[in-house]
């Protein structure tokens, strides 16, 4: 028996058995795709969009929408986990691997700050977004990424809580030190591993 039991509480949601080991602790399966944004939704047209890799790099790089689409795209099937406890299993995005982007610029520091149109930021160690762990994506399930979900382009880091997958991505700034991004400065965990339930500062 657990230490504390909620009187009269029983499981109502059943996670299909084959999915059970894909659901991190404290999460439930959500079939929709909820929208969580801390401010107004930025309106960025593809012809205004560009992506930069800057900061401590051997060579700063920038791609316009057209230039970005000359890079190699890949399909990314994945599960995503929001810190508010929903997970969306078996979804897919399409975009460019962060490996491709960083290789072009040669990072000289171990951390990045992802920065976005609208002012959002989130921090990540370089080693958590390389080796096929992160992408800049422009499509979700075969459709252009909707604006409310970060369109025209968002970062995708499916192995961390989804606030790390910054919407309306504008660039990655390579840094020699770590510093908290937007939610990391506002009470949420610096790292955000859903399998360790790294939700808040105190976790």
């Amino acid at each position: 028996m657990p230490d504390f039991v909620s009187r009269g509480f029983e499981r109502r949601r059943r996670t299909p058995e084959e999915l059970g080991d894909r659901l991190p602790p404290g999460q439930y399966v959500e079939d929709g795709f909820p929208v969580l944004t801390a401010g107004p939704t930025p309106v960025i047209e593809p012809d205004e969009w560009s992506l930069r890799i800057d900061g401590m790099v051997a060579e700063e790089r920038e791609w316009t929408w057209a230039e970005f689409h000359e890079l190699e795209f890949e399909e990314v099937p994945c599960d995503i986990h929001c810190v508010t406890a929903w997970s969306k299993l078996g979804t897919s995005f399409r975009g460019v691997s962060v490996d491709t982007l960083l290789e072009a610029a040669e990072p000289l520091g171990p951390y990045v700050m992802a920065y976005c149109y609208g002012g959002y930021t989130t921090n990540l160690p370089v080693e958590e977004i390389t080796d096929g762990q992160a992408w800049v994506v422009t499509e979700h399930e075969g459709e252009p990424l909707p604006r409310e979900h970060g369109g025209p382009a968002r970062l995708l880091v499916p192995h961390l809580y989804f606030w790390k997958s910054a919407k309306w991505i504008a660039g990655l700034r390579v840094m020699d030190h770590d510093e908290p991004g937007f939610w990391e400065a506002n009470g949420y965990h610096n790292h955000g591993d859903p399998w360790k339930e790294e939700r808040y500062w105190s976790d």
Binding site: P2, G8, R11, P34, V35, G39, E148, W183, S202
Partner: protein, 245 residues
């Protein structure tokens, strides 16, 4: 009309480190609407929150199965030792039906918080609050706190509900509130009907912070109205719930 003191600006709150899991006791349950109840919880390790923050609630079944959800705090941090959570009953939910159908006064429930420090009002600026449905809960914490401190900091609430019996905190809405019904208003209602429009928003104050909470669709349209009315984009804070489709 609840009394407004007007003794000066609201005292500015400071944030303390949020707590660990603790076992709260249900002190009172208030039926707000046919779908919404407010739960007053007594906390053994209570700490003051900033209006707008949330607690996480965790339910545990005898087999160890757990479900957790986040709920905004609706009460003022001056209610020492307790918090109020206002919960909308979602029929296909797991936690909200438990709160509505099972929980009675005296029951215990595991919680931890208060968390997140962006969608919060520290008393530092005038505020325009725009709420849709149960999105009013964190805004009510701000409104109650302003009243409790007797602050003369300007605060306005624009509140959109569907039908006559959907008004949460109906007996607490005062002169600062503009209420509109998008469905069926009460009989004899001569106030606003229909979705929030530009005419319901007060003239833009460049110093004001705007707090918008509701479904994603509600937040999107209310945000567009606030921007059109001249409120600053970097002063608009939003909290959204519900799937996008």
């Amino acid at each position: 009309m609840v009394g407004l003191g007007g003794v000066g600006p609201a005292p500015v709150l400071t944030q303390r480190a949020p707590g660990k899991w603790q076992i709260a006791t249900v002190k009172a349950i208030k039926v707000e609407t046919p779908r919404v109840k407010s739960f007053r919880l007594e906390l053994p390790m209570w700490m003051p929150h900033c209006p707008g923050q949330h607690y996480v609630v965790r339910l545990t079944a005898p087999d160890g199965y757990r479900a957790q959800r986040s709920y905004s705090i609706a009460s003022s941090p001056l209610d020492e030792g307790e918090i109020e959570l206002t919960i909308d009953r979602l029929d296909d939910g797991e936690v909200s039906p438990y709160f509505h159908d099972v929980l009675v006064e005296g029951d215990q429930v595991e919680v931890r918080g208060p968390f997140a420090s962006y969608f919060i009002w520290r008393g530092e600026s005038p505020a325009l609050l725009i709420g849709g449905g149960s999105g009013i809960a964190p805004l009510m914490s701000m409104l109650r706190h302003r009243r409790r401190t007797g602050a003369d900091t300007e605060m306005r609430l624009v509140y959109s509900v569907r039908n006559a019996d959907d008004v949460i905190y109906a007996d607490e809405l005062g002169d600062e509130t503009t209420l509109t019904f998008t469905g069926t208003p009460p009989e004899g209602w001569d106030g606003h009907v229909g979705r929030i429009d530009a005419g319901m928003l007060p003239a833009a104050d460049p110093e004001a912070t705007v707090y918008i909470c509701g479904s994603n669709g509600f937040v999107e349209s209310a945000t567009a109205l606030a921007l059109e009315a001249g409120y600053r984009s970097d002063r608009i804070r939003t909290e959204r719930f519900g799937p996008s489709s």
